[in-house]
Amino acid sequence: MLDHTAAQAFVTIKNAAKSYGTLEVLKNINLSVERGQIVAIIGPSGSGKSTLLRAINELDPLTSGEVWLEGVQINRKLPPRQYEAHVNQVRQDIGMVFQHFNLFPHLTVRGNITLAPRMLKGLSEAQANALAVEQLAKVGLSDKIDEYPSRLSGGQKQRVAIARALAMKPKVMLFDEATSALDPELVEEVNLVMKQLAEEHMTMIIVTHEMDFAASVCDRVLFMDQGVVVEEGPPSVMFQNPTQERTRNFLRKHLSR
């Protein structure tokens, strides 16, 4: 399971490719993310950025290539039963936040946060509760612990979703357009939580349409188009002085400045 030659970085994606029939959505992508790094993936819709993110936790398995997290290959080829067990295990280390929150509507905020730690990590009710209180305080929603998701605003739902993911103490957090479904005035409260995570050196891979946020928070920015990484670099270079024509075209349309 441990392969030190393949696992120099914290998160490593090697020669990732994915196709649906003849449609290639990811073409030979390589990406290394160090522990504590924050990487933004930007690009037009259909560029494959969400697919790449979803390949990291096997939601959308790659056709070929490898995904590694801290020396463990996520997408190991295993017989079905073992694969299931393996994937369920590694997913506990990978938090994911979705565009549409995907909170469980039949559970309270407390239930949403404590479910997985109790079921999968064997926490007692009291331990899980303490965890929920702690994580909710972090996202500023302590007073909502007994509400159902239907009573929350979009921004609050997304903050609960982040708290739910954090309660599993993940090694890396994936954000798939976490603010795209929010009303503009609710975006900031979610961004603030993400910035706070950045300050705590959480390793994060963020698919986003918000260039300002990517510029202010991320260590590195990847620009993807048509299934390939066109260009990558620190935000200062990527946003001020990109080398590729495609990147410049994209940013011209998306940068407010």
Partner: protein, 218 residues
């Protein structure tokens, strides 16, 4: 011969006992049809074919034949193969399985209607398929299905009158016995109808209460 309702109070006790048995059989068969419906739905959607096939045949038979015949088969027919069920148990099993098949159809549709994001949300946390189904999908599917399933429960209450033919002393049979003693069918059938109506109102109140309680958690 005019109507004379003054004969009814004399049989108040036996009608009330009959109503009690009607409620008992409805509640027992209702519970069986609820959990049976979930089990059938899960087997129909996710079961191994060796389970799925008999369940499908079973569902086809229960939907395609009269409930009355099913009750006869369970109560009288099973004796021949050595299964001698008390009338109450036979009634509960017959009614329960019959409505479980209908509930299963509702629950299947409702399971399939659960948003894909719910599976993704659960699976990314590390829940297995089975855990996701048990803790996330089925509870939501059941909540969504409570209003239409309530209609099945009301139908079940009314169809519980059929178990009178296998000798369960429920409301309809209690009325019939009162009639055989007094020759007053109109009065006693009307009295029984009134009792069904009252029980129905209570059942509807319970269902409304349930719907209100789950409203926030959907």
């Amino acid at each position: 011969m005019g109507l004379d309702f003054s004969v009814v109070p004399g049989f108040f006790g036996s009608l009330l006992t009959g109503a009690g048995w009607t409620i008992a059989i409805t509640v027992c068969a209702g519970i069986l049809s609820f959990f049976g419906g979930i089990v059938f739905a899960v087997i129909a959607l996710y079961g191994h074919w060796a389970l799925r096939l008999p369940v499908r045949v079973f569902a086809f038979l229960f939907m395609g034949t009269p409930l009355l015949l099913q009750l006869f088969l369970i109560y009288f027919g099973l004796i021949q193969v050595g299964i001698d069920l008390p009338a109450f148990a036979a009634g509960v099993i017959g009614l329960g399985l019959h409505f479980a098949v209908y509930n299963s159809e509702l629950i299947q549709a409702s399971i399939l209607a659960v948003d894909q994001g719910q599976y993704e949300g659960a699976r990314t946390l590390g829940l297995s398929r089975g855990q996701t189904l048990r803790r996330i999908v089925i509870p939501q599917a059941v909540r969504a299905v409570i209003p239409p399933m309530g209609n099945n429960m009301i139908a079940l209450l009314k169809d519980s009158a059929l178990v009178s033919v296998i000798g369960v002393m429920e409301l309809t049979l209690a009325a019939q016995q009162a009639i055989s003693r007094t020759y007053r069918p109109f009065e006693f059938y009307l009295a029984a109808a009134f009792c069904y109506y009252i029980i129905n109102l209570a059942l509807e109140a319970v269902l409304r209460h349930l719907e209100r309680r789950i409203a926030a958690s959907r």
